[in-house]
């Protein structure tokens, strides 16, 4: 019985994914090999040209480059901010009740539907928006700063806004596991805060960092909503290219593009796992 326990425990998860992900995924793979025309959107066939188109097109490389750029920048920012927020919550907040309370404080904005929040960026960052009016009022600038909205800056800002918490939570959980006596030992041995941080705490929460990174990478690479709204439709991303194809009902190339994206990101995460094996320390 004991030997089967892990299988039974993993069963619900596996069933959900079998039905709602693996099956659709197979459908997507099949479609990626179909032919298509402008008015005959799915022609069952087995052709490679969808994939050929993806790999031979200049657009692919340009969009992947742009998306990767975002990924790295967003990862770096969310990591730094996320780590210190988690550190603050674990080491500088007295009781668990306060930890939960502060967490909730951070989560509440996300209970205002994302559609509403997306619209509200205009009155916040727009030409006549709150931030610009404040900047002008304080005399810091004389004209509205247009790059605050509908720009790559806005997209990065939006990603940081949405995804920092995804870094905070795993790092928070990892930090909780750190034996405080280790930290005390380091301080007793004369280490400064920075030294303790870098040599003791950071290495011990590597799994948490890795998990947070997986979240951020996966979501930035596949996103098209945020980049579309905050980029004003003028900033590219892989997800957006796929969504444009879907708008035209061009299913086979969209499917092929999605599979390529999947492959690329899985490779990235596989590489990440080589550096930090999050399953080793379970």
């Amino acid at each position: 019985m004991k030997k089967f326990t892990p299988y039974l425990q993993a069963l619900p998860l596996s069933l959900v994914f079998l039905a709602f992900f693996l099956a659709p995924l197979c459908l997507v793979v099949v479609i990626s090999f179909f032919d298509y025309q402008a008015y005959d959107i799915l022609i069952p066939d087995f052709v490679f040209f969808n994939y050929e188109d993806v790999f031979s097109s200049q657009v692919t490389y340009a969009t992947y480059w742009i998306t990767l750029k975002f990924c790295v920048i967003v990862w770096a920012i969310t990591f730094v901010i996320g780590f210190f927020i988690a550190y603050f919550l674990v080491f500088h907040v007295e009781t668990m009740r306060w930890q939960i309370a502060l967490f909730l404080l951070c989560t509440i904005p996300f209970w205002t539907s994302i559609v509403i929040r997306m619209i509200s960026w205009i009155p916040l960052l727009g030409r006549n928006g709150l931030v610009n009016e404040a900047l002008k009022g304080l005399g810091i600038v004389s004209e509205s700063q247009e790059w605050l909205l509908y720009s790559e800056f806005a997209v990065v800002l939006g990603y940081v806004h949405l995804y920092t918490l995804f870094m905070v939570v795993p790092i928070f959980n990892s930090l909780l596991r750190i034996d405080k006596s280790l930290v005390e030992a380091a301080t007793d041995a004369g280490a400064s805060t920075w030294q303790t941080l870098l040599t003791v705490i950071l290495p011990l929460c590597k799994p948490g960092i890795a998990i947070g990174s997986i979240f951020v990478i996966a979501m930035v690479m596949g996103d098209f909503v945020t980049v579309n709204v905050l980029g004003g439709g003028q900033v590219a991303s892989v997800g957006k290219a796929i969504s444009t194809e879907l708008s035209y009902l061009q299913f086979p190339p969209a499917a092929a593009n999605s599979m390529v994206l999947l492959g690329a990101v899985i490779l990235m995460i596989f590489a990440l796992m080589r550096i930090v094996d999050i399953r080793k320390e379970l």
Binding site: P12, F88, H161, F215
Partner: protein, 285 residues
């Protein structure tokens, strides 16, 4: 387990971190603040500045049946769906997290399948589910097919957080329990569960929030009745009024109220326990 008293660092650190946290919260609340501000627009107001007067008009409008769009119906569906997803996510992730502690055959495959689900553009997954169900002749309903779609989104997060939770989880507790005669099940229920309970609350929050905000994965798998974000998005194809801002404000106030009540209640109960001198319930490490 780490706690505040072991915090290394001087007062500089303490204030620096507090300022950082404060700024972060302000940053997160920025758009929401706008939403609340603009929900007090006058009757001729729109969704952006210029602000046309100040009134409670839109809050009153919220109570009326909407000319276009079924806000309350979809809101109800979103809440119910969110709660269902929340519970299922916690249970399934917890179980799967336990499973992954042992190396079972196929665990790598399942792991990468779960990650793939996070990466795959949601819109594609949604089409896959929608079209797949259509081919099989199964109707799409918000509490079945959309539930499944939401789970493919929340479970990867739940599972990976469980990895962080069980990271270096000391097996000594369970061994001790077993030495004292507990069965495997009892060890999990009475030893493991209480220890990870706070993190499970975190997973629950995550699960609910992810589901409540989910658009792309739901769009093709939800069937004829929309969830709130889908309905709001569909309303964008026609005139939309600050009534949706009013909705945002109301949900915020409600959440704050609920949380405030819950925290106060728990503080009172904790205080009562302390006074009674029992340490039951303080076993949450």
């Amino acid at each position: 387990m780490a706690s505040a008293s072991s915090a290394p660092g001087s007062r500089g650190w303490r204030y620096g971190l507090r300022i950082l946290f404060g700024t972060f919260v302000v940053f997160l609340w920025g758009p929401l603040f706008l939403v609340i501000l603009l929900s007090f627009q006058g009757p001729t107001g729109g969704l952006t500045f210029p602000m046309n007067g100040v009134s409670f008009h839109w809050f009153l409008q919220l109570l009326e049946p909407q000319p276009i769009g079924d806000i309350w119906g979809s809101f109800e569906r979103s809440i119910i769906l969110g709660l269902m997803v929340m519970v299922l996510t916690v249970v399934i992730s917890f179980l799967a997290g336990l499973a992954f502690r042992a190396r079972f055959k196929g665990s790598t495959l399942v792991f990468y399948l779960v990650i793939a689900s996070m990466i795959m553009p949601s819109v594609v997954v949604s089409l896959g589910i929608g079209a797949g169900f259509e081919l099989l002749g199964i109707p799409r309903i918000w509490f079945t097919s959309a539930l499944g779609a939401h789970l493919t989104w929340t479970l990867p997060f739940g599972l990976l957080i469980m990895f962080a939770v069980f990271n270096r989880f000391n097996p000594a507790y369970e061994e001790a329990a077993r030495d004292l005669g507990a069965t495997g099940f009892q060890a999990i229920r009475h030893v493991v569960l209480p220890i990870v309970a706070p993190s499970l609350i975190g997973v629950a929050l995550f699960g609910f929030t992810l589901s409540y905000d989910e658009i792309a994965r739901t769009s093709q798998s939800v069937g004829p009745l929309n969830t709130l974000p889908l309905e709001l998005q569909a309303m964008q194809t026609n005139v939309t009024t600050p009534v949706i801002y009013a909705l945002g404000s109301v949900t915020t106030f409600l959440s704050l109220a609920v949380i405030g009540v819950a925290l106060t209640a728990s503080a009172i109960m904790h205080g009562r326990q302390k006074r009674k001198g029992s340490d039951a319930g303080s076993g949450l490490v």
